[in-house]
Symmetry: C3
Subunit: 325 residues, 3 copies
C-alpha cells in the first residue's frame, strides 16, 4: 500500500504508480462497502473542491459533487462561462487563486491541443491537488472506474484480453482521451490489450509508445488491429466506443465524412458472439444508441455500463480522500 | 401517522395517501418551529439530492437547495443544459446513474406531453426516491405548501370554499400543473372546490375525474364555473392564476390570441370584495403584476403569498427527510 | 471591538463603522491563521447563503462559496438567468422569499443605475443580512480584502500614500465600484489618498464628497490628479486599474473611443520606479495584461495581487460569521 498521495496531482494516468492505483482501488472498495452499509465516512469534513468545466458533463460532475458531499465536504460546480476567464483570468491566476480558496481543483477541458496544457498550467500554479476530469489527452478517473469494474466482474485482469475499439457515432467528434487512457492504464495490469480502429483513427504516437513500454515492464501484450470483427474475437472485455479522427483532421465536416465510411462499426449481438461467452461489454456513456451499439447489447446481460458509471463515484472519492485529506 | 415513506417517489399528488400527506404536514410544522428556535435538525447529514432542471426556477430550486443544507445534506443544482443529455443520455440512464450517486432525484420538466413521462422514466430506473419539482401535469410540492398555508391561515379546510381560477397573463403560456394539482389535493380535504375558467382553458379530463372521485370519497364538493366574478363569490380562499390553453391549442400565437379575449380576468379589489371578508388570496408566484392581479391585492392584507412561498421550504424538508432518511 | 454585527447588511463601504471594519479584520486574521493550522471553524454549521449573480465572477463566487463551506454552511450559486426573475419576480419578492429560505443574501448586480438600487430593495424586504458582492457603485468586500493586504504588507496604513489610478483596458467598460469603494474606505484609515484619472473618468460627486468628509474626520488627505506618472510619485501603494467613463457617457462605442486617447496609461517598470522602492502594486483582477499593466509588474516582486485575492476569502468569512451566526 502506498500512502504518500496527499497533495498530489492526478492529470495523466501514469501520474500514479501501479501500486498507488492499487491503493486507490483498495480505498474505493472500502468506501463502496461503507456506502452500502450506510456507514458515514466524513473524511473531508468542510473541505472544498472546485469543479471547473469547459465542457458538458453528466456523470463526472455528479459523481464528484455527490462524492465530496458524502465525504463531508463541498464541491463547487463552476461552468467556465459564468467566470471571468473570458475577461482575462489566466490559467496561472486560476491556479494561484483557486488554490487558496479550495482544497483541490478539478478541471474538464477537452479542447484539442489546449485542454491538457491548461490543466497542467493551473495545477502547476496551485498549492492544492489538480485533478483531471477529462482533457484532450487523458480521462484518468474514467479508467480507474473501468479498472475497478474489471476487478469486480472479471477478477484479476492479468492475462485477460481487452479490446479497446473505435465505433461509429453520428452525434459529434468525441475526444480520444478514453481510448488513450485505457491503453495506458490497462497495459500496467498485465492484460492483452488490443486497440482496434480504422486507419484514420490513430491515437497519439507517444501514448501508443508508452503503452508498448508498459508491456515490456508489466507483461501482457499490445497490438493494433484495423478489423472491427477481429477485435472482438475471444476477448474477455470489449470496450468499443467512438472517437474523432483528430490526428487525421481537425475539420468537423471532413471528420464526419471519414466517419461515414465506417457506419457498419456498430456493436451488435453478432459481434458480441465473437467474444468469449462471458465477455463483458463496457462503455463510458453516453452512447449513440443503435448507431454505436445496439440496445440489445448495451441493455443486455453482458453490459456492465451502469456499474462502470457507479464506480466513478467510488474511485473518485478514494482519490479525493487520499490527495486532499 | 403514516411512517412508511422511506424510499417512496412523489410525482403525482395522489402518490401519497391523505394520511401520508397529514404526516408530511405534521413534520413540516415541527421543522418550521425548530427553524424559528434555531434548533438544528441534521436528519440527512451528508446525504445528497440531485435537482435536475429543464426549466427556470426561483422558489423551487432555492427551497430544495437551502432545505437540504439545513438538513445537513447537499442538493446539486443541475441545469440540464450543462449535462450530456443532449448528447444521448436517456431517462433510464439518468435514473440508473443518478440513483447510484445521489440519495434522491428531483426533477422539473414542464414540456407539454413530455415532462411527466420523463420524470416517471427516471424514477422507475432509479433506486432512490424520485421527486417531482413540477411537470406538465402536476406540481405536488407547491400544493403541499398551499395546504400547509391554508391550515395556518384558515384552519381545518373541511367545508371551506376554495376558488381555483384562471386569470389573464401576458408573459408566457404557463403550465396547467398548479390548478390540476390543486383540484386533486384539495378535494381530499373535504373542501368545496370551484374550478373557474373560460371554456378554452379546460384541464385534463382524467384529472377532473379524479377530483370528482375524491369528492365522493372524502366529502365536500367540486364544480366548474366559467364566470370570473362568480368564482370569487363567498369564497374562503381564492387562488386565481394564469395557465395556458394547452388542451385547446399548443400553438403559442393562437394561445396568446385566445388569452387576449379575457384580459379582464384580473384579480382586483372589487373581485376580492365578492369573497368572504376574511378570504385569503393565494398565488404560487411569479405573477404578472397589474395584469393577472393588481398590486393592491397581491401586496394587500388578504394576500398570503410570502407565507405560501416560505412553506415550500418546510413541506419539502419534511418530504425529503421522510423519504430519504 | 464592536460585537453588534449580527443581522446587519453590508452594501456600502460605510455601512460598517471604522471600528466595525477593524473587528472584521481582527476576525479575518484569526480565520486565516486557523486555516493555515487546519483548525476547523464551523461557525455557520448548516446555515445557507444565496449568491445571486447578474454578472460573471471568478474570485467573488468562489471565495464566498468556499468560505461558507469552510464555516460549515452552504452557499447556493444562483445565475440570475436560471431564475424566474425575467418572468416577473420583483426585487421585493426575492428579498421576502430568499430571506425565508436562506440565512443571508449576497448579490452581484453591476448594471449602471440599477445594481445598487436592486440590492437595497432586496435587502430591505428580507429578514436576513444583505451582502453586496459588487454593484454599480460599491465593491465593499474587495476593499476589505485590500485593506487586510495593506495591513499585512505595509503595516498600519496611517500616513501612507495610496494612488488609486485609472489605467487603460480594451476588454470592456468596467464598473467604477472599485475606485469608489477604495476612496471611501481608505480615507477612514488616515491614508493620503490620491485619485488619478483623465478628466473623462470622474467618479460620482457624492462619493468623492464622502471621501473628503472622511479626511476631515479621520485625518490623512485626499487629492485628485490627472497625470498618470504623477500619481505614482513616492506612493507606498499603487492601485492602477481601468474603469468606464460612465459619468461622461453610457454609450459603449463612445466610451471606447475616449479610452483610446489614453492607451499609454499602462503600468510598467518605469512608472513603478517612480513610487517608493518598497511600494506594493495592487489589482483586483482580472487585468488586461500588457495593456493595463505589463507582465513584468503584475508578476513582479512588488505585486501582491494573489495575496489580495486570497484575502477575499478571509474577510468574507469574517463578515459572514459576524452577520449570520
Amino acid at each position: 500500500m502506498q500512502t504518500h498521495l496527499r497533495g498530489r496531482d492526478f492529470i495523466g494516468d501514469l501520474d500514479f504508480s501501479k501500486e498507488e492505483v492499487e491503493t486507490v482501488l483498495d480505498v474505493a472498495f472500502q468506501l463502496k462497502r461503507e456506502r452500502a452499509l450506510r456507514i458515514p465516512h466524513p473524511l473531508l469534513r468542510d473541505k472544498t473542491l472546485a469543479l471547473l468545466f469547459f465542457f458538458t458533463s453528466t456523470r463526472t460532475r455528479s459523481s464528484f459533487e455527490a462524492g465530496m458531499a458524502q465525504l463531508g465536504g463541498h464541491a463547487a460546480f463552476i461552468d467556465s462561462k459564468t467566470t471571468q476567464i473570458s475577461h482575462g483570468d489566466t490559467a496561472k491566476e486560476i491556479g494561484e487563486i483557486y488554490g487558496r480558496y479550495y482544497d483541490g481543483i478539478a478541471i474538464r477541458h477537452c479542447d484539442w491541443g489546449t485542454g491538457n496544457r491548461y490543466i497542467n498550467e493551473v495545477a502547476q500554479a496551485s498549492r492544492v491537488p489538480g485533478l483531471n476530469m477529462q482533457c484532450d489527452i487523458y480521462h484518468p478517473f474514467q479508467i480507474l472506474a473501468d479498472l475497478m469494474t474489471i476487478f469486480e466482474k472479471v477478477g484479476n485482469p492479468r492475462g485477460k484480453v481487452i479490446n479497446v475499439s473505435w465505433a461509429y457515432a453520428s452525434s459529434y467528434q468525441k475526444p480520444i482521451s478514453v481510448p488513450q487512457s485505457l491503453i495506458l492504464q490497462m497495459t500496467r495490469f498485465g492484460m492483452h490489450v488490443r486497440l482496434t480502429h480504422p486507419p484514420e483513427y490513430k491515437l497519439m504516437p507517444d501514448i501508443v509508445q508508452q503503452a508498448r513500454d508498459n508491456v515490456r515492464k508489466f507483461g501482457g501484450s499490445f497490438e493494433i488491429l484495423d478489423d472491427f470483427d477481429a477485435g472482438f474475437k475471444d476477448a474477455d472485455i470489449v470496450y468499443p466506443k467512438s472517437w474523432g479522427a483528430l490526428l487525421t483532421t481537425t475539420d468537423d465536416a471532413e471528420s464526419a465524412a471519414i466517419g461515414r465510411k465506417y457506419t457498419d462499426w456498430i456493436t451488435d449481438d453478432r459481434r458480441m458472439a465473437l467474444a468469449k461467452p462471458d465477455a463483458i461489454y463496457m462503455h463510458c456513456l453516453p452512447a449513440d444508441r443503435n448507431i454505436e451499439v445496439t440496445d440489445s447489447v448495451i441493455d443486455g446481460p453482458q453490459s456492465v455500463v451502469y456499474d462502470q458509471a457507479e464506480n466513478r463515484l467510488h474511485v473518485q472519492k478514494a482519490v479525493m480522500a487520499l490527495t486532499m485529506a
